[in-house]
């Protein structure tokens, strides 16, 4: 079974500063990688995903993540954060388990953007 490690439980940062949220997963032959965002009192929303092709994927609100197979990582970055980016971020990995792709989630990283 997959395991997902989000190395930081909380990341405080000032507005307009860059940020990186780290995610590592246990190795597998074929995986699909996702980042989700959760705003207070809401469910998770898909931020971006890597299925195949270019190892750099981008979201519509300026986040990007890079799939690094050799390091089994999928770190999330943003060059300049806004107050509205304050949220919980979850890395998730899907692999084939018994014929079904079952997503496994990390424990989450709380991004706190200060003015």
């Amino acid at each position: 079974a997959q395991s997902v490690t989000q190395l930081d439980s909380q990341v405080p940062v000032f507005e307009e500063a860059p940020v990186e949220l780290r995610c590592n997963y246990s190795s597998s032959v074929s995986v699909y990688l996702f980042w989700y965002v959760q705003y207070p009192n809401q469910g998770l929303q898909l931020l971006l995903k890597y299925l195949s092709g270019s190892t750099l994927v981008e979201s519509i609100n300026g986040f990007e993540a890079e799939f690094n197979k050799s390091q089994t990582s999928f770190h999330l970055r943003k060059p300049s954060v806004h107050i509205s980016d304050t949220a919980e971020y979850f890395c998730a990995v899907s692999d084939l388990t018994g014929g079904s792709y079952i997503p496994t989630f990390g424990r989450g990283t709380s991004l706190i953007v200060h003015p």
Binding site: N41, L44, L46, I102, F105
Partner: protein, 114 residues
Amino acid sequence: DAGITQSPRHKVTETGTPVTLRCHQTENHRYMYWYRQDPGHGLRLIHYSYGVKDTDKGEVSDGYSVSRSKTEDFLLTLESATSSQTSVYFCAISEGTGYGSPLHFGNGTRLTVT
């Protein structure tokens, strides 16, 4: 909007009582999931379903059962609620066949067991 409704949104119950949470989807997707979210643990899979009457256990299935008699409804039952089951429960659906498809989540049910 993936059309997922969880009910109830909040529930307070006593230890030892049975509790059923409902997840309803309007999209007719095959895969449905129940997760629980706890501080420091992230999301953990309880049970999932890959079709009507087809379900399987996740990593934290003890004390929980599920049923799926219709495509649109996935029920989670706590057979005899315990304080350790106090949590926020999320239902999710997979928009595709499950093959690398992302999940869409409901807004959650906050359950408190006293």
